[in-house]
Symmetry: C2
Subunit: 248 residues, 2 copies
């Protein structure tokens, strides 16, 4: 960093700084649909994209936010009241033209949260849960449509080989519920037997007593063993694992 060539301004840092924001793509599943939380931008004409739908986010507050991650957590908490969701950095988007107010860069996170008990509490006058397909067909403020497309692509890609959908469910949940969540996110049906073998072999679930459904047999409830990280299913070029230790 900071290879400044003009001696006059060396380490003076007097050049123009871009605007810096953090945006969060918050996913959940409500009524068997993958949804994303969007906010209405203020109608004030002095703000860019007045009234448009946008991802929740905003400027970094250098006095409040210790880090980018903390800033994303703060914004997530402000919108959903949730404290410890699955939160992962998606990437950053920055250019001279994405914000009419000047050169700007945004750091984007994506979060997976269980469906809120009361949908209306999170969906208010200024924010709402939109079905992802609908959201993708909507013109969002700034380059947020492109960012949302990137987030959906990343989510779908990772769902193919990780336990991410488990973070979209309230605990405890059953394997059939988890399977339906996978199917909703990926948009295709999955085989029950293969699905169960895979989930149980991956060792990321802890049993938690039976749960009765609306009809039929009741099912085993599960919790996520480690909410800090998602499980990764076996893939190509077997990465030399084997049982941690052989006896003696």
């Amino acid at each position: 960093m900071a290879t400044i060539k003009t001696p006059a301004r060396a380490s003076a840092l007097h050049f123009e700084r871009p605007l810096v924001t953090v945006d969060v793509v918050i996913f959940t599943v409500i009524e068997q649909q993958l949804k994303v939380l969007l906010v209405h931008r203020p109608e004030t004409a002095s703000d860019p994209f007045p009234g448009s739908l946008a991802l929740p986010g905003g400027f970094i507050d250098v006095a409040v936010d210790a880090s980018l991650h903390d800033c994303a957590l703060r914004k997530l908490g402000e919108k959903t009241g949730l404290e410890a969701p699955y939160l992962e950095q998606l990437g950053s988007w920055g250019s001279a033209t994405r914000d009419p107010r000047g050169w700007s860069a945004t750091h984007v996170y994506f979060a997976l949260v269980p469906a809120p008990e009361d949908t209306d509490a999170t969906a208010s006058a200024t924010s709402q849960w939109l079905e992802v397909g609908t959201a993708l067909r909507t013109h969002l403020a700034f380059d947020h449509s492109e960012i949302l497309a990137g987030a959906v692509e990343r989510l779908r890609a990772k769902v193919e080989y990780t336990s991410l959908p488990a973070f979209l469910l309230p605990e405890p949940f059953t394997l059939p519920q988890l399977q339906r969540t996978y199917e909703v996110v990926l948009g295709r049906p999955m085989d029950k037997s293969a699905f169960r073998k895979r989930m149980l072999d991956a060792q990321f679930l802890a049993e938690e007593g039976a749960i009765a459904g609306d009809a039929g047999r009741s099912a085993m409830g599960y919790r996520i063993r480690d909410r800090e990280r998602a499980a990764v299913f076996p893939r190509t070029f077997r990465s030399v694992e084997g049982p941690s230790l052989a006896s003696s």
Copy 2:
């Protein structure tokens, strides 16, 4: 973005802006070792971390760089003279404390380049290729050690299921050369037969005449079909492919 609550500063943008930089982790393979390009920071006492090793990078020039990606390409060109390498965004690191000059955020890219013809042309008084293991054990400026660790982790993870190592070789290359590159990056030997089946089945290589080696039988040379993207090898939850079209 920009949900500003204090009416007084609404869209005034008068709050403090963080420093914004772009850093690039440039990998190559030289003499059967995975290397990363590092630069010496200036000895000027007014600069942070004088004399330390650091990742190449620097402040965004809002007058010159159209986007983050362009900025990364510019910095890569300045250091290596290369124009069209494999370049992918790694993520961003930002906090109040990572730079003594103030709240700063850096956008990090990682690049894969073929070994330079003349190593000394890129390794100069201010920059040098360091073996990755050595670099990881070195204290780098800022949080660059952490960033480098993240880049190596991402590279190794993706090498398990993509054709990324092909971008570390000058074209045309042979399958045995490619296999050695995989082995160098992953630090473990691979089976020849399985390796070749996989590479050829993935359809990302184009034949380009035989190449004679130092000894023994000569081998088929290959080029990357599409330098814009890496091939992804088959993974879990078979993503419904099948041959593009059945006859008739």
